[in-house]
């Protein structure tokens, strides 16, 4: 298929008026005539903006596309942020003060608001878009029309014959260099329809009546396929399914194939280079470069030469690789993630790869924790066996067991000290894991786990203790218990009783059970509470009660085996 070149020449006849450019979720067509209407609207509006660069964000693909096409027609340069968070917009404001689309701020349009370009600007500059930030803070990348057209041709050459006339639907945003070409520009220039809205749930696919569907998605979605969905309805209707953004687990790719009867085409690329290579994830370990792209290893890192890249020369990526045979390679994680632990330089990627070798570990991410004495934290997604072990053996034993796999190759000081087992690694909207999100998993370490003790007194007898305390409002255990209505969990009350009773009890032996447990009134944050403890060595029982001035909140006896 011959692709139209960007920017489209809107003065000529780009498409017949009744050409279907896009489709609404309810099946209604968005024709080129409709788009022309939107172009008229946006051209009038955008003409008035004096600045060359204009920030654009719109979740509706048709609106977004209309704005982009209009800006191009006006010889302006769209600046595309990945989201509209304050932090992101701060970096956008370095480029322009003109904002169009779904921004919370009232589109501030100032005259002469252009800021200088950070990179060589040419007449051919098509847009400014941001990197994902998986290797640090997001940075702005300028793309030319020549580069974008080259990428679209590469994609078409590789998959055009597979996708044919299918409707393109995406679960990823078009505000980055995977979603923009795959979900929007490729369908546009090849004359195939795309869905106006980003899919949120796979179940929405069932509403579509189209004969053929081309799905643009990411591991975040593919690794969480709804089990209860009636996949049979899609049988034979999915012509292609793409995944990119982060590595897709082979197990997930196999699950997709089983449910949708089609192999996932996993795409590797970057904002700087565009799409670089692909593999059929259910069966292939090795990546194959796309037609027209060359790869080689430079000191263990993957170097790429592509007509779609921002420079027409070899670009050395941050990904370590091994070229296994001619034009086939494996990726081995990012090279730039060197952490300094205890004076030693260690690669976070290497630790993650090692951890993932363990049969209990599905995915592993490690991060240096400056606020915790520069120790390493690990965020782990366990396999099914791993989950069983966590229940059977407990957290500490599982950590220790998994750590042993590091003993051959990783310095002990770099072994994870703090572990978080999660059902899903924290991903941002692009399906990427950022260092900040990983660190946030350990914020709970900063929160108190014990009450603020006002006074701790021995009771009337030697086997009694009285602790007056206040429940801190930021107590860790109030989190999620319950949202908006925090109360002190009963299990925490029992555990505090044992904690403060330890001195009374000496060596009580093992915990045996609980007796006469009563939780009469809830204890809330900031409440003044008195804990009374009484130890009976003879019976090996610790009697506790939590009271405030007005009420007895709870009481019970904790039974031990005796010394």
């Amino acid at each position: 298929m011959i692709l139209r070149s960007l920017p489209l020449d809107l003065s000529g006849e780009v498409f017949p008026d009744d050409h279907s450019v896009a489709q609404q979720l309810d099946g209604r067509d968005v024709s080129w005539r409709d788009i022309r209407g939107r172009l008229d609207f946006w051209l009038k509006k955008l003409e008035e903006i004096p600045s060359i660069k204009v920030a654009v964000f719109h979740s509706d693909s048709v609106e977004f596309l209309s704005i982009i096409l209009s800006l191009w027609h006006l010889k302006k340069i769209p600046v595309v942020p990945v989201n509209t968070l304050d932090e992101t917009l701060c970096s956008v404001k370095k480029h322009t003060a003109a904002f169009v689309g779904e921004f919370d701020l009232v589109a501030e349009v100032k005259s002469d608001s252009d800021k200088p370009l950070d990179f060589d600007s040419t007449d051919d500059m098509a847009l400014i878009i941001f990197t994902s930030g998986s290797s640090g803070t997001p940075s702005a990348i300028g793309k030319t029309f020549e580069q974008i057209n080259a990428e679209l041709e590469i994609i078409e050459r590789q998959w055009g014959s597979v996708v044919r006339s299918a409707l393109t639907v995406g679960t990823v945003s078009h505000h980055h260099m995977y979603g923009l070409p795959f979900c929007l520009l490729w369908p546009l220039v090849s004359g195939r329809p795309f869905l106006c809205r980003e899919l949120i749930y796979f179940e929405q696919l069932l509403k579509l009546k189209n004969k053929k569907i081309n799905i643009i998605t990411s591991p975040a979605h593919l690794e969480n396929l709804p089990e209860l969905m009636d996949w049979k309805q899609l049988n034979g209707r999915v012509s292609a399914i793409f995944s990119a953004g982060s590595p897709l687990a082979m197990e997930a790719a196999r699950n997709v194939k089983e449910k949708m009867s089609i192999a996932v085409s996993e795409v590797y690329g970057s904002t700087e280079t565009g799409a670089v290579a692909w593999r059929e994830r259910d069966a292939e370990e090795f990546w194959r470069p796309l037609c027209g792209i060359e790869v080689k290893s430079v000191q263990g890192r993957l170097a790429i030469k592509s007509p779609a890249a921002i420079k027409n020369e070899w670009l050395v990526s941050e990904d370590t690789c091994e070229i296994v045979e001619e034009q086939r390679f494996t990726l081995k994680g990012r090279a730039d993630r060197i952490m300094k632990v205890g004076g030693k330089r260690v690669s976070a990627s290497a630790i993650e790869r090692q951890l993932e070798e363990h049969s209990w570990v599905e995915k592993a991410c490690v991060v240096l924790l400056p606020q915790h004495k520069y120790r390493v934290g690990a965020v782990i997604q366990l396999t099914a066996i791993g989950h069983e072990k966590l229940v059977d053996l407990g957290k500490f034993a599982v950590q220790k067991q998994i750590s042993t796999i590091l003993s051959a190759n990783v310095e002990k000081v770099a072994w994870p000290r703090y572990w978080r087992f999660v059902s899903q690694l924290p991903l941002n909207a692009q399906g990427k894991i950022t260092a900040e999100q990983l660190k946030a998993q350990f914020h709970d370490r900063d929160r108190p786990r014990f009450p603020q003790v006002v006074e701790s007194l021995a009771g009337e007898t030697a086997c009694e203790q009285i602790v007056d305390f206040v429940v801190p409002s930021d107590l860790l255990y109030l989190e999620g218990h319950f949202p908006g209505r925090p109360i002190l969990p009963g299990v925490v009350q029992v555990s505090w009783a044992i904690h403060y009773g330890r001195e009374l009890m000496g060596e009580p032996g093992n915990f045996v059970g609980l007796e006469g447990l009563k939780f009469q009134r809830v204890i809330r944050p900031r409440q003044d509470i008195q804990l009374r403890l009484q130890w009976s060595a003879q019976k090996s029982k610790l009697t506790f009660s939590y009271t405030s001035e007005e009420y007895t909140h709870s009481s019970g006896r904790i039974v031990f085996s005796g010394a």
């Binding site: 205890g342 915790h372 004495k373 407990g394 957290k395 500490f396 950590q399 220790k400 750590s403 002990k412 000081v413 072994w415 000290r417 703090y418 572990w419 370490r445 000496g506 060596e507």
Partner: protein
């Protein structure tokens, strides 16, 4: 203080000083190695622990000496070391 009570005190010190997570004094077996299998502590931990012991019990440790290394083997051996050093110190002060 009984030997068990002192060992418990050391276990609490280890957990607090090294900011260990997911483990209580009860989980630490007094005779198990601190550094290799057992607790899996590392060289940074050894330093921190040494400093904490000096601060709390006023004892001096020679990090390089083989004897110190031997005594850092487990909670029990550490307890013996600290008790011994404290006794030395008291005797020295009395002289």
């Amino acid at each position: 203080m009984s030997a068990e009570a002192f060992e418990l005190e050391l276990k609490e010190l280890i957990i607090k000083t090294l900011e260990l997570e997911d483990i209580t004094p009860e989980d630490i077996v007094s005779t198990e190695p601190l550094f290799n299998d057992g607790l899996c502590l590392d060289s940074i931990d050894a330093l921190e622990l040494g400093v904490a012991l000096q601060k709390l019990y006023g004892i001096k440790l020679d990090a390089e000496s083989d004897e110190t290394k031997k005594h850092f083997f487990s909670v029990s051996s550490l307890a013996l070391l600290v008790a011994g050093k404290q006794k030395d110190r008291i005797l020295n002060n009395e002289n």
